[in-house]
């Protein structure tokens, strides 16, 4: 089963035991685009332009020979589409300057708002360049993380304890928004890659994950599977304590930065992805990278996807990404 999923996800790699490629956000793309010849492009320009994002993704793919690309700008894209006001400062990732009052979070047409049209444009341009068989993932948030980013993480997390029914109401709205977004991603033929930066085990624990994150993730994956696509999740931070919950999602692909060997027998059909520590790409060297990659290869059940544990640092050294890709 896993082998079949792998072959469908990565058709060019039939017969191979692994695929590889880094997870890249707009900040590293901006860094790559400014490699010679210098164009003095700023991150705040790149993250708002589908054209530049596509150019960056193509350059990254050429440079790193990745087996896939992930269309991903930064974590604030969908919060902005919901109405959160962001500040774009030169050379910085956009940051929220005004979260939404709870009552202002509504069901909207996510795909047509904020920067999402630019991201879809970037994904389409990449598909024209790479062809229809090349795996193009499209990043989107899980409803829990989106809810936190919409109203502010601390007020949202407090509400889980103080007024859980209110938090659940917000999560339902966020789920509806993300069901709308995933529908567009699927109809365009991209693979939805759901990221859960705040629904992390270390932040909220298994009980909160089970009540507030899991039920809102499941329908997104069901919709992807129903459309013939894949159940792909990236989860930040600690995941060992979420083994049972993650196994219940029947994932095709789980991207992570935290390795727990004991959880993988629970997920025999899930392809593991990630685990190479991101700080190594900026502060490490070839020897450390080799050790990290060898560790991944020795523990991750085949077939697997060798990748960064989370998105690359903006100033990741391209030669270290290439080292990971070659090993």
């Amino acid at each position: 089963m896993r082998r079949e999923t792998f072959d469908r996800l990565f058709p060019a790699l039939k017969g191979e035991l692994s695929a590889s490629g880094p997870m890249i956000a707009a900040d590293h793309l901006a860094f790559l685009l400014n490699e010679p010849p210098v164009r003095a492009l700023r991150l705040d320009q790149v993250c708002r332009s589908g054209e530049l994002l596509a150019e960056g993704l193509q350059k990254a793919q050429r440079l790193y020979q990745s087996d896939f690309i992930i269309v991903f700008s930064d974590v604030s894209v969908e919060a902005e589409a919901l109405g959160v006001k962001l500040e774009y400062l030169p050379g910085r990732n956009p940051q929220p300057v005004r979260h939404l009052p709870w009552e202002e979070v509504r069901v909207v047409d996510m795909a047509s708002r904020g920067r999402l049209p630019e991201l879809f444009g970037a994904a389409r341009t990449c598909r024209e360049r790479f062809g229809g068989d090349f795996p193009i993932f499209f990043s989107m948030k899980d409803p829990f993380s989106l809810a936190a980013m919409a109203v502010g993480t601390e007020p949202f997390l407090e509400k889980l304890v103080l007024e859980p029914e209110v938090a659940l109401g917000l999560l339902e709205i966020c789920r509806e928004n993300q069901l709308g977004l995933i529908k567009v991603i699927l109809s365009e033929g991209f693979i939805p890659f759901i990221g859960a930066p705040i629904a992390s085990g270390g932040l909220i624990g298994a009980k909160n994950f089970e009540r507030f994150a899991l039920p809102y993730l499941r329908p997104l994956f069901d919709q992807a599977e129903k459309a013939g696509s894949f159940r792909c999740l990236h989860i930040c931070g600690e995941i060992g304590m979420l083994a049972k919950e993650l196994a219940s999602l029947n994932l095709d692909l789980l991207s992570f930065e935290d390795w727990h060997a004991e959880m993988w027998p629970l997920m025999p059909n899930t392809i593991s992805m990630g685990f190479v520590p991101t700080d190594l790409f900026q502060y490490g060297d070839t020897k450390l990278m080799r050790e990290a990659v060898n560790r991944c290869k020795s523990v991750m059940p085949a077939p697997f996807v060798l990748s960064t544990g989370c998105d690359l640092p903006a100033k990741a050294k391209p030669e270290l990404v290439q080292t990971m890709m070659r090993l």
Binding site: D27, R92, N93, Q95, P96, T153, E154, L157, E158, L160, V161, L162, G202, L203, I204, G205, N208, C236, G237, M241, P277, T278, D279, Q282, Y283, C310, D311, L312, P313, A314, K315
Partner: protein
């Protein structure tokens, strides 16, 4: 007398803000020393919260609500404390480094350090190296604590630590946050890496050579 402090600590751990407020008012009504109530009630409660957090029995949502309960009592008691009655173990300047607006981790570390007797100067989030450095003269910190959630901001952390080690070697540096680890701390020559808020409290005591009351 100690019963009321114990009840206060328990109410903090159980996230009962109203109960903490009632007990704080009772402390004042009965003429008990507010600084002792802060130390043996509120701080002791947060110390237990820190233990539960480190043991993965409590997570960030619970810690945030416990801290809300603690502040509900603290706000009532603080104005009644006679100046100088709260022992200060040292001053910690804390902030989230330049380029990062995620401050949950920093806020929890701040809260736990404050509850355990340190004076905290919170520079907030997205704090530039210049802002950290300019705080040194005014605040005379014993420790500078730097937090980040994003790999993109680790450069700023390295820059601040390098400056402090060169210009103010007497100031201890402590770092924490999702993308950093003990190897990174060693590589930038930070004095301490704390994986969580409880470790930050232990580290602050270690760095200043103060015994940690359990």
């Amino acid at each position: 007398m100690s019963e009321i402090y114990q009840k206060m600590a328990e109410a903090v751990v159980k996230m009962k803000a109203e109960e903490v407020q009632k007990l704080a008012r009772r402390v004042l009504d009965e003429g008990l020393p507010p600084e002792v109530a802060i130390e043996k009630g509120l701080a002791a409660g947060m110390n237990e919260v820190g233990r539960l957090f480190a043991a993965k029995e409590y997570f960030v949502p619970e810690v945030l609500v416990c801290s809300r309960a603690m502040y509900a009592g603290f706000d009532i008691l603080k104005d009644k404390v006679v100046a100088g009655k709260i022992a200060r173990k040292g001053t910690v300047v804390i902030g989230v480094v330049d380029g990062d607006f995620h401050d949950i981790g920093k806020n929890i570390v701040k809260l736990m350090l404050e509850a355990s007797g340190f004076r905290l100067v919170d520079l907030g989030k997205n704090v530039s190296a210049d802002q950290f450095i300019s705080s040194l003269n005014a605040e005379k910190p014993d420790i500078v604590a730097l937090s980040t959630l994003m790999t993109t901001t680790m450069d700023s952390m390295a820059e601040i630590v390098a400056f402090l080690n060169k210009e103010n070697p007497e100031i201890k540096t402590m770092i924490g946050g999702a993308p950093v680890n003990p190897d990174f701390a060693r590589s930038i020559q930070a004095h301490y890496y704390g994986e969580n808020a409880r470790e930050a409290v232990v580290g602050a005591h270690e760095l200043l050579g103060i015994p940690l009351e359990t």
